[in-house]
Amino acid sequence: MALKKIEDMNHYEVLNINTSASQQEIEKAYHTSKAGFQRNALAHYNLVSDQEREDMLARIEKAYLVLSHPRKRKRYDLRTFHYKTENKEPSFFRQTTERLVIEDGEKKSFWSKLKNFFSPKNK
């Protein structure tokens, strides 16, 4: 585990759970974390300043809001870990309206080689 500032922690790190945590584990972690940072909680007594406590409580709420909602969690995981980018399915329709220029790879490489050969740099 690398040294990380609290503001750089992801939602899973805030709730102290694995990225594969079940909804039940998220629920439990949320309640435990929240209980520790409530105003009158003993767990943070004389260790955490009021500002730090409030900031952390807000982070816990935000983490729970995202992770407890399967669709939001999926979107968050995609954005945070990018693990789906390699397995992304190709779109059925084109995503842009720009003109497509299809070139023959073989031909292009031949012409570019020829051009490089006669370019002034090679002389």
């Binding site: 690398a2 003993l42 955490v48």
Partner: protein, 328 residues
């Protein structure tokens, strides 16, 4: 950048940082900062429960200022005690062992002569630590005193792991945090001195706001100044993994408190604390003590006894890891 020879020797040079490497042996220290949290009760009860599990256990009463572990075991006199070792009347710590009424459970009784032993000098402390580490027993449990003196901290650091006994009360939690912070600062100090980075630390310390009390603030600031040394110190600290017992738990909230403390400590003291469990409050502990009978013996099936048993089982299952080795 560090040279290879700069990274060596810290473990060899500082006995408190060099844990025993024998995987078949455990040294557990019971501490917590505040007095009256039940450290000696937990030590005695764990010892009995471990001996019930067939373990070979030796309890060492290292509460140099006020030893009373023997009373929790229902014992009064012994020919030899820790004082004989500290004042050089016996050469080996092993020679001061006393047998208890429980199979497989032995005790090194604290000394009545507290005037000469409560303030151990540095060399006597190192000798004591060396003998504890070389002690010939599978499980050694060291009951350490209250407060955050170097003696208490160093006895706690030599163990693997150290166990904090905390009550669900603000005073106890406050003292436990002082105790953990003292341990952390002691470890960091060893490494800061070793790497000669006092100037950097001084520069970092001047930027930390006075109102922040956590070790996280220190690390958060040092990352901005020097990521390399921040990582180095952080890695040294990650080897310090104490455990937590909530003693005298009275309701469900006290039971959950342990998990919450683990969460807070992980974020703001930057260490991994393992929660071993909560031990319910039982008025009979008081009555057992008054009758000089070990509580576990008198109430073997109570919730409190069962909780201690469960903690003993967890401890036996804890895998010992080599601590404080600098990985960089």
């Amino acid at each position: 950048m560090l040279k290879w020879f700069d990274k060596m020797d810290i473990e060899a040079r500082v006995p408190m940082l060099s844990a025993h490497t024998d995987g078949h042996k455990s040294i557990w220290a019971i501490g917590g900062g505040k007095g009256g949290t039940g450290k000696s009760f937990i030590t005695a009860s764990l010892g009995i429960q471990l001996s019930n599990l067939g373990e070979d256990v030796t309890l060492i009463d290292a509460d140099l200022g006020g030893p009373n572990l023997h009373t929790f075991l229902g014992m009064e006199e012994s020919n030899l005690d820790l004082g004989h070792f500290i004042t050089n009347r016996v050469t080996k710590l092993q020679d001061t062992v006393t047998f208890t009424p429980f199979d497989g459970l032995k005790l090194i009784k604290g000394t009545d002569n507290v005037l000469f032993t409560s303030n151990l000098n540095y060399f006597k402390k190192l000798k004591f630590i060396r003998h504890i580490k070389a002690f010939d027993a599978k499980r050694v449990i060291v009951d350490i005193g209250t407060g955050t003196s170097y003696n208490c901290i160093d006895f706690f650091l030599l163990s693997n792991p150290g166990i904090l006994v905390v009550n669900p009360e603000p005073t106890s939690i406050e003292n436990a945090y002082y105790f953990m912070k003292s341990c952390i600062i002691r470890i960091l100090k060893f490494y800061i001195d070793h790497y000669g980075i006092q100037d950097l630390i001084q520069k970092v310390s001047s930027h930390i706001v006075d109102t922040t009390k956590s070790i996280y603030s220190f690390f958060s600031e040092i990352i901005s100044h020097d990521k390399f040394y921040a990582d180095l110190l952080y890695r040294a600290l990650r080897k310090f993994n104490p455990c937590l017992i909530i003693n005298k738990a009275r309701d469900e909230r006290d039971m959950i408190l342990g998990e919450s403390i683990v969460n807070v400590v992980q974020k703001y003291l930057v260490i991994d604390l393992k929660f071993l469990g909560a031990v319910p409050f039982d008025e009979n502990v008081h009555w057992s003590l008054k009758s000089f009978t070990p509580y576990i013996k008198k109430h073997p099936n109570s919730d409190t006894s069962e909780a201690v048993k469960s903690i003993a089982e967890k401890l036996v299952g804890i895998k010992e890891t080599k601590r404080f080795a600098v990985e960089a």
